[in-house]
Subunit: 341 residues, 2 copies
DNA sequence: CTGTCGACCTAATGCGGATTAGGGAGATGT
DNA sequence: ACATCTCCCTAATCCGCATTAGGTCGACAG
C-alpha cells in the first residue's frame, strides 16, 4: 500500500505510457524537456492534469540535495523576555529576505533544553538547515567553536570577533554611532558629559564605550566613565555630579537596560528632569524606550536582511564576500537632550 | 562526491564497523534497539557523537513520514504590517509549546513572488513539516480546500467554519467576550449603546456583532449597529448620536482598525472626550491600542500554545481530540468607559 | 554429535523524484 | 545493404533513512 494517497510521477507515467524519468523531465525540467517530442509532452501534461498531480517537495529536495532551509537560532533565552520585541525587527528583515532568496526559515528553540549546556544539543540540530543565522548578545564560545569546525555556513547578527575571520557577522557600528551622539551633545554646548555603563563586558558594550571616548576625544573633551550595577545610582550621587558641572549623561543600552532604568529612577527621586536639569542620551535605540530619548537608530531590519544575503552567498560557495559587515546607525535626536542651562 | 558534507548514517556505520540499518535502529529506534548488544550501541553512539551526526529531516520524512517539524504559515502578507506586533504573542506561545513538545518550528513565508495565487506555492511547501499551523484573518478558501484534501494535519489559529469539522482551529470566543463588554457598559448604566463595525464579513466580525447583539438582548436593550468604511464618520454624525441619547459607543477591532480610528478622529474634531462625553469600548484587545481603552484580552499566547498541542495530537493520530476550541477572553475594563453623565 | 532456539545483525527494498549514461528506431548517406 | 547519425526515451542509480525479511553463529537440549 502506498503511504500517500496522492498521485506520483509513476502514476502519470503509467497513464501516459511513458517512463517515470520522462515525466520528471517534462514536469520538472525547463530546458531539459527541449529534447522531448511535443506529442509526448502533451500526453504527460494531460495525464498529470487529470490526476491532479503535485510534486512532493520532500522527495524533490532529497533528490536535489539541498533543502532550502535557513536556520535561525537565538541565544539569550529567546522570545518571552521583556526586551524581546527588540528582536522583532531583525525577524522581519530576516523573513523578508529569506523569502526573497527562495528559502524557508527554520527556527530552533533553546528553551526546552534544560541541560547544563543548553545550547549544545540545539547547535547540533542546527545542521539540519543549509546554513544558520545566530542572534543574541552573548555568544557561547565553546559551542560556537565546535560548530565553526564543521562546514556549515553560519552568520552571526551582532559583532563578535572572538573567532576572527572564521565567524562571519553583520554588526552595527556602535563606535561611530556612539561618537555621533557625543558630537550631538557637544554641539548643543555640553562639555562635561558622563557615561554610565554596566559592568558587562560584551563586545557591544566595549564598542559603545570606545565610541563615547572617541567622540569625546574628537571634541577635545575629557571622557568620564562610570560603571554601575544599577543599585549604586542614588539621587545624592546624581546631584553631586550636577554640582560638579556635569550637564549631560549618556547611558548604555543593554538587553536589561539596568543602568538606564536605575538612572531614570534616581533622577525621578532626585527631582531632576530631562532636559531641564540634565540632558540625557543613550547609546542605543530610542525606539525600544519611552518616547523622546536621544540615541541612534540601529537598522535592525536591514541587518537581518543583510545577514540573510551573506548567508545565502556563503551557502552558494561564494568565497569572496566580505565576511564582516558593520552597518551605520543614524543619530536620533530626541527631546531629552537640549543645550545646557 | 557527496552533495552534502554532512555525515550520514553510512559514515557512522563505516566508523563503527556495522551496517547502516543497524545505525538507523540504534539512533532512531526507541524500542527497536532493544535487541541490539550494548557494546554495539555504544560504538555507534560514540561514532555518531564524534561525527556530529544529525539526521536529515528530508530523508527522514521521505522514509518515515515524519521529521519533528511544525510548520507555521501566516496569511495576510506576513509581518511587516503595522498591526504585525499583534501576531507576536501568538508566536511566543507557539514557540514555547513547540519546544516543549520536542518539535522545531518551520516558518513558511508567502514568497515575495506576487503570482496570481500567492499562496498556492507555499501551501505546497508546507508539506515539508509534519503538520502546519495557520494564522491570519482572511483564509484563502480554495487553497485551504486543496490542502485539507491531503492528509497533512493542520490547525488554524482563529475561528473558521468554512470547512466545518474538516478544518480544526483554536479560536477566541468573541461572542461571549462581546456580550461581556456590553454587560459591563450596561452595568455602568448605559442604555443606548451603538456598535460601529466595518463592512468586512470575516467570521470574527460576524462573531463580534453576534456578541454585541447577544449582550444587548440579555440586558433587555435594543441593539443598534452602524456600518462604516471609516470615511463617513463625521463629527456632526457623532453629535447627532449623542443628541439622540447614545451614551456609549462600541467599535470593532480589526487588523486595520479603520472604523475605530475614524471614530477617534471624528470625536476629536467634534470636541467629544471619552469617557466624559461618551463612553467608549472596543470588541478587541486594548493592548494593541493606546492605553486605557475598555475591551477584552485575547489570550494570544495561550491560543498559540493550545494550537500547537492540538496539532501535535493530530499528528500523533489522535482522533478523539476536539478539533474546535474557543478560548475565553477576560474583560479588560479601561478608563474610556464610565457611568453616563 | 546433531537439531533447535535465540540473540544480533545485515541484505534488500521502498519513499518520490532528479540525473546520467546509453540504447533502440528510424533517417540519411554511400 | 551497411555504417552513421539523430532523435527520443528509458534503465539504472542516487539522495538518506526506515523497515522487514531473513541469515549467521553460538549455546544448549536431546
Amino acid at each position: 500500500m502506498r503511504p500517500s494517497g496522492r498521485p506520483r510521477q509513476a502514476d502519470i507515467a503509467r497513464l501516459a505510457g511513458v517512463s517515470q524519468p520522462t515525466v520528471s523531465l517534462i514536469l520538472g525540467g525547463t530546458a531539459a524537456a527541449l529534447g522531448i517530442a511535443e506529442e509526448t509532452q502533451r500526453k504527460v501534461m494531460e495525464a498529470a492534469e487529470r490526476l491532479g498531480y503535485m510534486p512532493d517537495p520532500i522527495a524533490t529536495r532529497l533528490a536535489a540535495g539541498q533543502n532550502n532551509l535557513l536556520g535561525l537560532y537565538t541565544f539569550t533565552s529567546t522570545f518571552p523576555t521583556e526586551m524581546s520585541h527588540a528582536y522583532y525587527p531583525f525577524l522581519v528583515g530576516i523573513e523578508e529576505e529569506t523569502a526573497a532568496q527562495g528559502y524557508d526559515l527554520l527556527m530552533f528553540i533553546a528553551s526546552s533544553v534544560t541541560g547544563e549546556r543548553p545550547h549544545a544539543q540545539v547547535l547540533n540540530r542546527v545542521r539540519l538547515a543549509d546554513g544558520c543565522l545566530f542572534l543574541g548578545r552573548h555568544l557561547p564560545v565553546p559551542e560556537m567553536g565546535r560548530l565553526l569546525a564543521t562546514d556549515l555556513p553560519v552568520v552571526y547578527i551582532g559583532r563578535h570577533d572572538e573567532f576572527g575571520d572564521r565567524l562571519p557577522y553583520i554588526g552595527a557600528d556602535y563606535v561611530s554611532a556612539g561618537a555621533a551622539v557625543v558630537r550631538h551633545l557637544a554641539g548643543l554646548g555640553h562639555e562635561r558629559i558622563l557615561y554610565v555603563r554596566e559592568a558587562d563586558e560584551a563586545i557591544t558594550s566595549i564598542d559603545r564605550e570606545a565610541g563615547f571616548r572617541g567622540g569625546m576625544d574628537e571634541c577635545g573633551l575629557a571622557a568620564v566613565v562610570v560603571r554601575t550595577d544599577g543599585t549604586d545610582l542614588t539621587p545624592d550621587r546624581l546631584r553631586a555630579w550636577r554640582d560638579q558641572g556635569v550637564t549631560a549623561v549618556v547611558t548604555e543600552a543593554t538587553d536589561t537596560d539596568a543602568a538606564h532604568r536605575a538612572l531614570l529612577a534616581a533622577a525621578e527621586r532626585a527631582g531632576l528632569r530631562f532636559p531641564d536639569d540634565l540632558s540625557l542620551a543613550t547609546l542605543g535605540d530610542p525606539r525600544d524606550r519611552p518616547k523622546g530619548l536621544t540615541g541612534f537608530a540601529v537598522p535592525r531590519r536591514e541587518m537581518g536582511a543583510a545577514a540573510v544575503r551573506l548567508l545565502t552567498k556563503l551557502i552558494a560557495g561564494d568565497r569572496t564576500v566580505p565576511r564582516h559587515q558593520l552597518m551605520t546607525c543614524e543619530l536620533e535626536p530626541g527631546e531629552t537632550a537640549a543645550p545646557p542651562r
